[in-house]
Symmetry: C2
Subunit: 557 residues, 2 copies
């Protein structure tokens, strides 16, 4: 069976940019555009040249895309001037992109009320805009704004606007559910009516998620004959967002009937790139990734319920609708109250710690986890701290050094020059092999002269002089720091999660909890250092007058 | 036209509880159950008695619900023992709830592989479990696990399991898409096949969001004849979550054809309660609310794009699919780069500050917002700080007091008794009317003796002695504190958002940004105090030797 082609159009950089709180720099846009191109998207809509300075800069020095058609967005010419003389349109054209996508009104109410012009004038403006673009040799797509509402109000008018765009030479007419309120069944019916008159190979769909059904609406349109989907990475977009390409693409590639009926320029082997592009966008926006996102979310293949977890270990097909590796994800059977001892044993084995089935200490570990979770600890995202907890219960946690005390000071004052400056300083007193080592650090950044706060000062002081352990921690770097106010029993506590890396490229997460944020950070820092010392095989503490403690059972990596 | 009844079944406290990172206390469950009951849900599934200590406690002292049927979850009896002698089932029964919901296998592969029993044995176990429950006078529902995969593999067997449950006296058979991978169109076809044999008034649907289409799948089932929907608040649930009742219920009540064809026990006037229940769940879980959630999200009716914003002010219908107030939400036209001066003017008017159209300072305000956003500030969630920024540009920001310097110390040491204790202390030097006032505070909590950290100490010291302004801030309370590491240009900075309240019940949000978390918190605290002094009409500073500064143009509330 010959497969039909489905075209994928990404508008992360244009419709996604319209989200409150989103402001891409030109550099951000370059990174995202390149990732979308590498992934296999057919069109990358870069923004609206002339609408704001960032977009104008971006189009002045556009990305070189290997495959995707780089597209400038704009709107159809205003009534009362020619396409040549519309300055807003001119700015879009002057960006010089191979492809242009123009939005225009197709809902009679909008034409008369929002634009304040006659229905025929609007239709002519659409036709003339596209005629102008195609005369200039550009490919031009029509975003039919408010199409579904428009069709319901005045179907003849809405369809005539599509005709006008096609007469002008538009390559695609994209039906936009601009307000996001059209249900998938209605979308299917209306798209079917359109595809009865216009070849589906020229019809696209652009949904918004205001009822939580943008993905389903897009598929309903494909079922009804449309052959282009417009959407964004992670469903980024105004209000409730656009159709989520990160959810749609895996469904199109992995699930019947789409995987059998259609082909796209995104290939199944490239799906892990989709997960990475999704993560990259979250990093650029400094957003916590959605753990529960379909396919790519950290929890998408995370099985907590005890029943499910045992069945999974027997046969993953039983509880997974697609194998996680096909989308660049992985199966996780996390530690928590509801996981049983069998999960715990397999987790310990992964860490290189073998414990016999039925060993009483397994229950101790589960109890300790529960006790700490009640206090506010969370181990799902802090595997290294969980390992230390387990080792402690199993008598496999070496003692390396103690911190006798610390003191952290943050001071804001006026300096000699009259400027307000902030200074953070930390003093740490460690005991290594019976010897007291005092260290003091500031958290001033050499380059920017900015002060990076009390936790930074504390981590520097902790890592400044650890006696014979110093060499192990020279390459330890704190790379992420997350703070969460949560509930620890009856009162609010602060939970700090720290990610650390080292020269070997390892990355591990530790957690600390306290009503005091500095103390919570201190716990997480201490766990991070301890974990590294264990992994690197450092010898345990030698107490004065005693023989060295037996080396910890260090697991093979 | 007579409307058919749609039944709504909430499983937030059971399926939602199975989410990694979710652990409701019995008290949490009581609050949520009461909210669901008040909202009009028909069934509230409280958990699995006997499966874990919290659930056993909860069912031992269950909530008194006015309308909703309080439901205990369990599983069908195991093969090889009678229903009376199955201890796991007994625990569920002994909870004494009026209603019980039992999950059972309907997918032949699961019966043989996961359970390891014969197909007929499983079917008998289903029938016998329900016969037992109905003999005891309970209402009993059947959750047909993996139904859609089971139907596709062996439709006769799957249907025979439904029949068995009904023969045993089940009131409903709920078709569960346990793996979440069945697409809405398939769900519709299979539900239609089931409803050809079983009255739709006994058929329910239970979807998961693994392809991002649980809501659409649930509606497809209703379209095909099912009359019960199972879901959770905020779509809480394992992996990618359950069908989101917070999205579904407004659609059922506000949108054709559902609002005309069906009635539920949730009424349109109660929709604002749904938004509040959604918020409450986020608070209990200490999760940041999803700003982009359909209907109830903070951004659901937030219009950023300049074009949209002007059209909205003319006629909201143009860009909103339902009026925001119908779902307890409100329209927001936020401050940002893309908003124009007209949005800014209307925002200032809302604050009681009138500025002429075309006033040059409007552009200054927009520029300053942009400049600060580039540094990491975010004003969408910090309206009070935004007001202070605008006032500063307009020359309407009184000067009340200065903070000459502060010093915050966090110290962890061993006390005389040998315990490790943490102590936070803050010293603040304020200048009020030329007089220097020194204050020192600790952040020790009197009740728990726990130390609440440097920011708490600083806020107490700041509010300890503000001279003649002291009375204004006696009732100022810091109620929420959010920390975010974000990007401020080339380096990472900490953004702190603080919510404050006062005796008049006002609640306002302020923001601070710095690489140093204490300094960021300090800025937000200072803004919070300044905003209150303005709102309360405090007089500006009197500098020694000078007449009092002119009173600020205090806006009428």
């Amino acid at each position: 069976m010959t497969r039909e082609t489905l075209t994928l159009f990404d508008t992360t950089l244009r419709d996604g940019q319209q989200t409150a709180g989103v402001d891409f720099s030109a550099e951000d846009k370059h990174r995202i555009a390149r990732a979308l191109d590498a992934l296999g998207l057919d069109y990358v809509e870069g923004g609206w040249p002339g609408a704001n300075p960032t977009d104008s800069d971006f189009f002045a020095a556009p990305p070189r895309l290997a495959r995707a058609a780089f597209t400038a967005f704009g709107m159809t010419k205003r009534v009362g001037r020619s396409a040549e003389n519309d300055d807003v349109l001119a700015a879009v054209i002057n960006a010089g992109t191979p492809t242009v996508c123009l939005v225009g009104k197709t809902h009679d109410y909008h034409v008369k009320t929002a634009l304040g012009v006659e229905l025929a004038e609007n239709r002519d403006a659409i036709r003339d805009s596209f005629a102008h673009l195609t005369a200039l040799g550009r490919e031009a797509l029509f975003d039919a704004e408010h199409f579904f509402d428009g069709y319901k109000a005045n179907p003849d008018y809405a369809l005539s606007c599509l005709d006008a765009a096609l007469e002008g030479g538009a390559s695609w007419v994209v039906l936009c559910d601009t307000n996001g309120g059209t249900l998938p069944a209605e979308i299917g019916e209306i798209v079917a009516a359109v595809c009865a008159r216009i070849p589906g190979s020229k019809v696209g769909i652009h949904c918004h998620d205001d009822t939580g059904m943008a993905v389903a609406g897009s598929l309903a349109a494909i079922d009804a004959g449309a052959r282009q989907i417009q959407g964004t990475l992670n469903g980024l977009g105004e209000r409730c967002g656009n159709a989520n390409l990160t959810s749609l693409i895996p469904t199109l590639l992995l699930k019947a009937p789409y995987k059998d009926r259609f082909s796209t320029n995104v290939k199944a082997a490239d799906l892990p790139k989709l997960a990475r592009a999704s993560k990259m966008l979250d990093e650029i926006l400094n957003r916590a990734p959605n753990r529960h996102a379909p396919y790519v979310g950290a929890a998408a293949f995370t099985h907590k319920a005890g029943l499910h977890a045992s069945a999974i270990l027997k046969d993953p097909k039983t509880y997974e609708h697609v194998p996680p590796e096909t989308v660049g994800n992985e199966r996780v059977v996390p530690m928590s109250n509801q996981a049983g001892q069998s999960n715990l044993r397999s987790r310990l084995i992964d860490m290189g710690i073998a414990v016999e089935k039925g060993d009483a200490r397994l229950a101790n570990i589960l109890d300790e986890v529960k006790r700490r979770e009640d206090q506010g600890y969370a181990y799902d995202g802090a595997q290294a701290s969980f390992e230390l907890l387990a080792r402690r219960e199993l008598g496999l946690l070496p003692r390396f050094f103690d911190v006798e005390r610390y003191r952290v000071t943050v001071e804001k004052r006026i300096n000699a020059r009259g400027d307000a400056i902030t200074v953070s300083e930390a003093v740490v007193v460690c005991v290594v092999d019976g010897e007291r080592l005092l260290s003091v650090s500031e958290s001033r950044d050499a380059a920017s002269d900015a002060d990076h706060g009390p936790v930074n000062a504390l981590s520097k002081a902790l890592a400044k002089d650890l006696g014979r352990y110093q060499s192990y921690i020279e390459d330890l770097k704190l790379v992420d720091f997350k703070v969460r106010i949560t509930s620890g029993g009856t009162e609010a506590v602060t939970r700090v999660l720290i990610d650390s890396t080292d020269a070997e490229g390892r990355r591990w997460s530790t957690v600390g909890v306290s009503p005091n944020i500095v103390d919570a950070s201190f716990q997480a820092l201490l766990d991070a250092i301890t974990w590294k010392l264990i992994r690197d095989g450092a010898d345990a503490a030698v107490l004065p007058g005693r023989a060295p403690a037996p080396a910890a059972a260090v697991p093979a990596e």
